[in-house]
């Protein structure tokens, strides 16, 4: 169960952090985030196993080095895709309401899923993650290495992003999200802020997509259901409070814990079978609703501050 918790939690936290970056800096609710995660994973599958870029030119380099290089190429491609999407579909909506832009991202979600599903076909595409099934044996618990890696990646990403939001560009991003005209009056290039936010957000989505696809318990690769599975991160985002990086992480691991615990409990207690076998998947939404009843802005969200 610990393993389930950590792997689910890391995935949700990473997805939530990527979503929060885009929202926090551009005030856009990006409903295409799950689709971008699946697309990112598919890019890794393409680079690492299908096209073997850049592995095919690397001769007898070790497998892990080839895989890491492919992953980096795929992440760069994900960043580029984020940049292009922002430029083509989000930038023209600058200044429109939150709601209209959210509708555009819903459209993007459908388009990205349809296109990447066409490429993927019906079979799962393995990512060729070289970690395999090796595990870290702590004595009292055995954790697969890829779960360890996912937790480390999540924590490193979170620390970097938290310091980023305190630095020059991060402060400019938060300013831009609130008031573009006032941000411009400070010399902030709002267009560049949007580009950067979408590039970083898309990379974060792709990283989450990798983990979403490699955990051996879940599936053998990225497939047409991956984007759908990513959707379960939304309760984590809302639970944490939309604009809080800390909230995204706490929300991610909290939802992961609840889901893993309930699933475990149900499998040990057949008398609750009436709840249905997929009940674990519903838990995130139930938890989200309970928290929102008590704290409408989520656990760490900024309460609306009215302009004077």
């Amino acid at each position: 169960m610990l393993v389930d918790w950590l792997s689910l939690g890391s995935i949700y936290a990473l997805l939530a952090v990527g979503f929060v970056i885009i929202f926090k800096s551009t005030q856009v609710l990006n409903f295409a985030h799950g689709a971008l995660a699946a697309l990112g994973a598919f890019l890794v599958a393409s680079m690492a196993t299908i096209l073997q870029i850049p592995g095919r030119w690397m001769g007898s380099a070790p497998v892990w080095l080839k895989w890491t290089s492919s992953a980096l190429v795929a992440l760069a491609a994900a960043a580029l895709i984020g940049l292009i999407l922002e430029r083509l579909f989000i930038r023209p909506m600058l200044g429109e309401g939150l709601f209209s832009v959210a509708i555009v991202t819903l459209g993007l979600d459908i388009v990205i899923r349809t296109v990447s599903n066409d490429f993927m076909g019906t079979n799962p595409r393995p990512l060729g993650f070289p970690g395999g099934t090796a595990s870290l044996d702590l004595g009292w618990v055995v954790i697969p290495w890829n779960v360890v890696v996912s937790v480390i990646v999540t924590l490193v990403a979170v620390v970097l992003i938290a310091t980023f939001f305190l630095s020059r560009t991060g402060v400019a991003m938060r300013a831009t999200a609130f008031d573009q005209e006032a941000a411009r009056a400070q010399g902030i290039n709002v267009g560049r802020i949007f580009s950067l936010a979408w590039a970083i957000g898309s990379v974060m989505a792709a990283v989450a997509g990798i983990f979403l696809s490699v955990f051996p318990r879940r599936s053998t690769g990225v497939d047409t259901a991956t984007a759908f599975l990513a959707f379960a991160a939304f309760p984590a985002i809302i639970l944490g409070g939309l604009d809080s990086i800390v909230g995204a992480v706490v929300g991610g691991y909290a939802i992961g814990l609840a889901q893993a615990a309930v699933t475990e409990f149900l499998s040990n207690n057949p008398s609750f079978a009436f709840l249905g076998s997929g009940f674990g998947g519903v838990v995130p939404y139930v938890l989200m609703l309970l928290v929102l009843l008590i704290k409408p802005y989520g656990l760490f969200g900024t309460e609306e501050i009215r302009r004077v």
């Binding site: 970097l160 992003i161 310091t163 980023f164 305190l166 630095s167 020059r168 560009t169 991060g170 402060v171 400019a172 938060r174 300013a175 609130f178 008031d179 005209e181 006032a182 941000a183 411009r184 009056a185 400070q186 010399g187 902030i188 290039n189 709002v190 950067l196 900024t302 501050i305 009215r306 302009r307 004077v308």
Partner: protein, 271 residues
């Protein structure tokens, strides 16, 4: 104040290779059928405190919006240090050295005082986004240096006790001061202040007048001060322009403008 004085008045003068800091040449701007600015010309020099007054709707804020290119004039030219600014974006005019405050305070209310003023340092900071995230070496040094400038500004404006508070929660008069601080943080050559004392009581107004005079006298920054009533302006401005219905109806030193029959007529007509 010392670190704030990155360039003294003398330095500003020494850099000069232009006639007037800002020249506005026969600018016109209309919104549909409404003429907001109807052929206005004026100039502002380095270190000068220039005031624009006129009744509500006279076109004062629209003039500001043309200066920093939020609006693009239909006709006429605006030259900054001898070069036209037409076609630039507001963030580019900011980088050239024009800082502004807004008539309806445009702070970032969820951010605290330090962070708000720090946004003004944006163009003066020297770090890439990833250097900021890594919080090492150059990025960190740059961050510290600029945060010190922010602290100097906070001292200067006497707002220490609100440093860490979200500005949306602060009293109106303090918010106006924070906004002035944010503009000052840009280390500009020209400050555009849109009704900085509107809605303030007498004490707050006097404080603000003192800050404005200090900025001109100690920092040598030129200021355009927009106000809708004459009170403050006539006491502190070097020169005054009066606009009404988008037209310049008078210009000169305060004593002359105050006694101009056109001005008296416009102001009596309003009330």
């Amino acid at each position: 104040m010392s670190r704030l004085l990155t360039r003294s008045t003398e330095n500003r003068r020494a850099e000069r290779d232009y006639e007037n800091l800002l020249v506005v040449d026969d600018v016109r701007l209309a919104f549909g059928g409404v003429t907001a600015i109807d052929g206005v010309s004026f100039h502002v020099d380095d270190g000068e405190l220039y005031a624009i007054i006129g009744p509500n709707g006279a076109g004062k804020t629209s003039i500001f919006n043309c200066l920093n290119q939020v609006y693009h004039p239909d006709e006429g030219d605006i030259r900054w240090k001898g070069k036209t600014v037409l076609g630039l974006k507001p963030n580019q005019t900011a980088e050239l050295g024009m800082a502004r405050t807004f008539q309806n305070i445009a702070l970032f209310p969820h951010m605290n005082v330090v962070e708000n003023i720090l946004t003004g340092r944006h163009i003066r900071m020297d770090q890439t986004w990833w250097q900021g995230a890594l919080w090492l070496g150059k990025g960190r040094r740059d961050e510290f240096e600029n945060r010190e400038v922010v602290e100097d500004i906070i001292d200067f404006l006497e707002i220490e006790r609100w440093r860490k508070q979200p500005v949306g929660m602060l009293p109106y008069g303090i918010q106006k001061r924070v906004e002035l601080g944010r503009a000052l943080a840009m280390d500009p050559d020209l400050l555009l202040l849109d009704e900085p004392v509107a809605g303030m009581n007498l004490e707050e107004t006097e404080d603000m007048a003192r800050f404005i005079l200090d900025i001109r006298d100690e920092l040598g920054i030129a200021i355009i001060l927009v106000e809708h009533d004459m009170g403050l302006v006539m006491d502190i401005a070097d020169r005054v322009m009066v606009v009404d219905f988008g037209r310049k109806i008078s210009e000169g030193v305060p004593e002359v403008v105050q006694n101009d029959p056109e001005v008296i007529k416009a102001y009596l007509g309003e009330t």
